[in-house]
Amino acid sequence: MMPFSSPDILFTNARLLDPASGLDSPGSLLVSRGLIADHGGSLGVPDGATVVDCGGAVLAPGLIDLRASLGEPGNEYRETIDSAAEAAAAGGITTLCALPDTETPLDDPALLQYVWRRGEALGSLSILPYGAATRACAGKDLSEFGLLKEAGAIAFTDGTHAIGNARVMRLALSYARAFGSFIVQHPEEPDLARGGVATEGEMASRMGLAGIHPAAESMMVARDIALARITKGHVHFAHVSTGAALDLIRQAKDEGLRVTCDTAPPYFDLNETAIGDFRTYAKLSPPLRREEDRLAVVAALQNGTIDAIASDHQPRDADDKRLPFAQAAAGGAGLATVLGVTLARVHGGDLSLLDALALLTCKPATLLGLETGRLTRGAPADLVMFDLERGWKVEAGKLPGKAQNSPFDGRPLEGRVMGTWKAGKRVFG
């Protein structure tokens, strides 16, 4: 953590929201020495404290992003850690879990520590790197889970690459138990998905694009649930996007297996029609699905099958995207829009505000064993202030940070971040 020197801050006239405790009430919050000192209906102003009048805006724990890719190290033309931090702060994110499948994969303790330290040096964003589950994220040989965990690995994954070999996945789930950690899987059966660039079906057929059948996701989920059962390991499925996979995850949870999952805003806000006219900004991995799968993801957010919403940020350069659809890089920028698109489900009546925020704060914190993500007295003052009603429009080219490849380009949103604080220091707004 950063050495601390800022003055005390008193937030007044706030709508305090703490999903962990269910708190939703008007009041004040005091930050002292970078920690949450107190909150309540009305607090006195301590000597020398800065007062921030929230004007009725929401004050909530800073967001914990379970899944984002950084361009650095290796693809700085797409995004640097500095530019990602700028976008994260603008999006209300104070903790970001970085995928290890960078150009130079994070399969070595020194590399992992480098990324973590870069985050600490920023002071605006905690970067918690995942360790590569296999060397070079190549899916063959396990990496050094113990040493990587000592160096700060939050968990293990091959990032955007599925661990396709069942034996390797079994070993990874077993071995991770020794270190109290878990494996994050990109749930897509690689042989079935090979060459595909869109969800298989009428849309892809008409566009002449090679399809990936949605079953590529559910069959990988089914396999890994079976492996979780025999290893007693913990598997976490990333960016789950189909109803069939979510049904399997629900059953596994009911059975008591250690199975968790997240999804990302594109999968509950967009469907496959977004790729019409060969719009490469909407080319994602997994690909955007049919409307019925989008609705299934919304339902799973409501019923608790999904444990967290992650930005699934994948920075891409314009030249990575200005290509014929099949050749364009998959992935969307997501840091600046994850809150706004999640709030669209609140405004749409699908989720309560507390439930929506829980998926971005205390629930991922619990999964990762973090003390942040809550308005707890004594916890680091990682905070976001947002106006629930304020409208804005996502415009690629005008987003904070370097990566502009938003699949939500042109989408109007309600709910805008007004300020972000990291350990009591204002980092945005």
């Binding site: 079906g201 057929s205 566009m207 002449g208 694009l209 200005r322 290509l323 099949a326 050749q327």
Partner: protein, 314 residues
């Protein structure tokens, strides 16, 4: 005739029947002129037509070249080999080069679905899709429709069987869109491994057996099977494919007695079509398809150039 409402011809999906009928009527008149020997026109005088081919093609490129020249355009052929693509020049670098040359009409063939659509967003020229990946090949479907219309009088209620590798065929997709729009009954006949997912939702009847799929057909349209499909495991062998899905006299016998046989070329004789059928002077209209290709492309260039004139640069 009503004015064509678009700047480009990128796809037939969604093109309304009156515009299709107009294009076919104009193409028919060019076909008659071409046959009469009065071939030289001046509709495109002073216009620059560039054939931009990222994939090898002799037939389509030559056909566009001839069509452009007959209408008086300055025609330039640019073959962009795979090697220069691999050197890193992107499609959009190419677009800015073409803009600098003040190209009016741009004919594009590319191995990737959607590539002409991408180019059309960046170039000043009217773009004609001459085949993009497995997406569409609009002028091929137009020339097929013209050929059918000349033989059958009308497209209305005809039974057209499209046979073979529909999965990888841009020709099949464009034909399905056009023929369905013109009220044909379109069938696709292929093993399931060579059909796109949910092809039935494109308004076609699906058959996996030639003898039922060809029954009472007015038109039998064969598609090329590329050799690499066999390497990819979609079809076990050429001999098995020919036995079950290749068109020979026995399979053709279940179609209507006056059914015509079509193929977009180039043919794999003995794979998807038997030479005796391909060369049958009565049933096969494969040669006429090539002839109609020039007329159709003249019509397309003519119609798109009318919209150019209206929006002419100073």
């Amino acid at each position: 005739m009503i004015a064509y409402p678009h700047r480009h011809l990128l796809a037939l999906q969604g093109l309304e029947p009156p515009y299709i009928a107009d294009l076919l009527d104009l193409a028919e008149s060019y076909a008659l002129l071409n046959r009469s020997g009065k071939t030289q026109r001046d509709q495109l005088k002073g216009r620059t037509l560039i054939n931009l081919f990222f994939e090898d093609s002799t037939r389509t490129r030559t056909s566009f070249e001839l069509a452009g020249k007959r209408l008086g355009a300055d025609v330039i052929n640019m073959s962009v080999s795979q090697s220069s693509v691999n050197k890193g020049e992107t499609l959009l670098d190419t677009a800015s080069t073409l803009n600098a040359m003040h190209c009016d009409l741009l004919v594009v063939r590319h191995a990737q679905s959607g590539a002409p659509a991408l180019l059309s967003q960046k170039v000043d020229a009217a773009v004609i899709n001459a085949g993009d990946g497995t997406h569409e090949h609009p002028t091929q479907a137009l020339l097929d429709a013209l050929t059918i219309r000349r033989h059958k009088g009308s497209l209305e209620n005809l039974v057209v069987a499209i046979c073979g590798d529909v999965l990888h065929s841009r020709v099949a997709r464009s034909n399905i869109h056009l023929l369905s729009a013109m009220n044909c009954r379109v069938r696709v006949v292929a093993p399931p491994t060579l059909l796109p997912a949910e092809v039935e939702r494109m308004g076609v009847e699906v058959f996996h057996d030639m003898k039922t799929g060809l029954r009472d057909a007015d038109v039998v349209m064969m598609l090329r099977l590329q050799k690499e499909r066999m390497a990819g495991g979609l079809v076990p062998s050429a001999r098995e494919y020919f036995r079950f899905f290749g068109l020979d006299a026995a399979k053709l016998a279940v179609a209507k007695p006056d059914a015509i046989v079509m193929h977009p070329g180039p043919m794999n004789r003995g794979v998807e079509i038997d030479s005796a059928v391909a060369d049958d002077p009565v049933r096969s209209v494969i040669g006429e398809q090539v002839e109609m290709g020039v007329a159709v492309r003249m019509a397309v260039l003519d119609i798109l150039s009318r919209n150019l004139r209206r929006n002419a640069r100073p």
